[in-house]
Amino acid sequence: MSVPVLWRDLRRFTPARVALGRVGNGLPTDAQLAFQAAHAAARDAVQAVLDIPALQADLRQVGLAASVVHSACPDRRTFLLRPDLGRRLRDTAGLPLAPGCLAILLCDGLSAAAVQRHAPPLLGHLAGRLERMGPIAIAVQGRVALGDEVGDAVGAEAILVLIGERPGLTAPDSLGAYLTWQPKRGCTDAERNCVSNIRPDGLPTAAAADKLLWLIMRMRALRLSGVGLKDEQPAISQAGLDQGRSIPAVGP
């Protein structure tokens, strides 16, 4: 490629909003309205509802079945204001016992579209390569820590939670994957490993599956997850573990 000489040439290197131009110290009108449109799309994504039958059908396409559970949140507003209820199961009915496995929970989180679109292909890449893959559950109005209760109820040695991340302006459908060893109520976020930004223009599902398989292998070898399990795999390390701003539970 040619050497960039114009400001706008920087755009080819990043999806960030670089080289927007300036009117006085403000944004040009087109950039200003493009931002507003992206914010509107993200706001709408937060309110979208998970289509469970369609998700189950997509999972069947890759040979997987999933049961359905509910968090203690009755609706979206409660979900947004009461994270404590989003971490609790309404009941454990429908969850099978599967001691010693890696259980999997799919949660709408803050973007139903992320789970809807990216969870089936990601699980398709994992299935067959993952030892002791346990039961899959789908939860609505759920947060990451809901997996602690699900994993505990199932008797799993670990839980993988695939959850819709907080919609951003460029990515209203970004999926996050959280691994927790020996899940139980009260686990902190420092005890989890996260692979984030799973979507076609971020970390594609095939690469995310490779990364997760490596982490799961290390987790099982070390018998722990979280800050004690560093991501030191070579080569494919370019993506999504532990968003650097580590305020707990900031995500879903």
Partner: protein, 456 residues
């Protein structure tokens, strides 16, 4: 000890200090979530009146988290400077408010710092309006230095935050160049890594150091990885200017971040030993934010603003170059809308400054909060008037890795332009030398040739 106040024929009773502080706090969703908020507007004002009558001395005698249970409480009380406190030891919280507004000068406030505890500054903030928080914060002088000088009067610095969804070096470099061309980067060029690994962090550290070196920028760089990652990078010889860490206001909150005070001391010593600063040796960078303790169930029934201010007591032990509250990042369950975010941002800036910290604010919101660009403009302008040390700059206000909206490079230019604020002096000279000051040309100045930093 119980506190009580009669208001309009009703007696309100608050069983202990932490309850009194919580009930006196302007409403926010996180305190309601924790079950500590006032039940009515009248109860809130009654609590504020009771708080105003409270002697400051009481805030040294009654604690919000027991001394024996919490190393942050121990740090606050063990390091309290009685001599510095003496000039205000006779005041009530209400009297302290009057003193801050009427009598306190920049010199008096500097001398007072180590005599103040987080509980004192939050208590007085709870009976202050935004204009009070602005008037007093604007009198605080906090200056720090590493390769430039941050916090001088009439200056506004910007953290250039060139995040990229997968830490692509070209992407980070492009956003960095975009920010430099718009006058940002004097606080720090600081990347949140998408991948918190030694390898990825090391790659980014070398990239940022190369950019700084090739353009000869008088600033500092940082990769905001976990402190344990940064320690390992330093041990391996990576170019670490600043050690970053998120911190909280209780021992349990810090445990949830995977840190202890001794780990922070270890990192502080390691960074000092590198001697990379040229005009100063402030080597730590901390981030905080209301709600993090509650989200980790590490709040001990204390309101989120009080726990937040206690994190500042942790920060100041390490003489940081930069501290910022990431005020709107955590979400609507803690700060529901623009009004709550604005109030919290102003409180955090005030409390941090009064305690002597180089306080910046990440003026921000998420897409699940009831907030928008208008709210951010309001908070930005208020903070500018209050003398905020630095703000965040991301391209077009859109962080494509962390999925939230912060302030843009343009926002910083707006604020500098409206209020006549200038960048850090060393950086300002550099901007002029590089021909960036105008910043409207379509062509990138030759001295900032992208090829110099590997963009080709």
């Amino acid at each position: 000890m119980p506190y009580r106040h009669d208001l309009a024929g009703t007696r309100y009773v608050f069983p202990d200090l932490k309850t009194l502080l919580a009930r006196a706090t302007p409403f926010r969703s996180g305190d309601a979530l924790a079950g500590v908020a006032a039940a009515s507007a009248s109860e809130r004002v009654a609590a504020q009146m009771a708080l105003a009558d409270l002697p400051l001395q009481t805030l040294l005698e009654e604690v919000v988290i027991p001394y024996e249970d919490d190393d942050v409480t121990r740090l606050i009380l063990d390091r309290h400077d009685i001599a510095a406190f003496a000039p205000i030891a006779h005041l009530t919280v209400g009297g302290f408010r009057d003193f801050l507004l009427a009598e306190a000068t920049p010199e008096i406030l500097t001398a007072l710092r180590l005599g103040l505890t987080p509980e004192m500054v939050v208590a007085v903030s709870k009976i202050m309006r935004l204009q009070d928080l602005i008037a007093v914060a604007a009198k605080c002088r906090v200056t720090t230095a590493f390769r430039n000088t941050i916090g001088l009067p009439g200056r506004l610095s910007v953290r250039l935050q060139p995040n990229h969804p997968v830490d692509d070096p070209h992407g980070v470099a492009a956003s960095t160049l975009d920010g430099l061309l718009l006058g940002a980067g004097d606080a720090v060029i600081g990347v949140n890594p998408a991948t918190d690994s030694v390898a990825a962090t090391t790659t980014l550290l070398h990239l940022l150091d190369a950019v700084r070196d090739r353009y000869a920028i008088p600033t500092q760089t940082c990769v905001l990885a976990h402190v344990t990652t940064t320690l390992r990078c330093m041990a391996a010889g990576a170019p670490v200017d600043l050690v970053f860490q998120s911190i909280g206001g209780s021992e349990a909150a810090n445990r949830s971040f995977g840190i202890t005070l001794s780990l922070l001391h270890e990192a502080h010593e390691a960074a000092l030993a590198l001697r990379r600063g040229t005009v100063g040796q402030n080597v730590m960078y901390f981030e905080t934010g209301q709600g993090s303790a509650l989200s980790a169930e590490a709040h001990h029934g204390v309101d989120q603003q009080t726990i937040e201010a206690r994190a500042y007591a942790v920060a100041r032990v390490f003489s940081p170059l930069l501290v910022n509250t990431v005020v709107g990042f955590i979400g609507p369950e803690y700060l529901y809308d623009g009004k709550q975010i604005i109030r919290a941002g102003m409180e955090d800036h005030f409390c941090g400054k009064l305690l002597g910290l180089p306080m910046g604010v990440d003026i921000c919101y998420t897409n699940h909060a009831e907030a928008d660009q208008d709210d951010m403009d309001t908070l930005l302008t208020l903070l500018g008037v209050a003398g905020v040390t630095y703000i965040i700059g991301v391209p077009g206000a859109d962080d494509v890795m962390l999925s939230y909206q912060s302030t843009s490079f343009h926002d910083a230019l707006f604020l500098r332009g409206m209020l006549g604020l200038r960048p850090a002096p060393e950086f300002e000279i550099w901007l002029e030398r590089m021909g960036i000051a105008a910043g409207t040309a379509e062509r990138i100045p030759a001295k900032l040739a992208p090829a110099l930093v590997g963009l080709a």
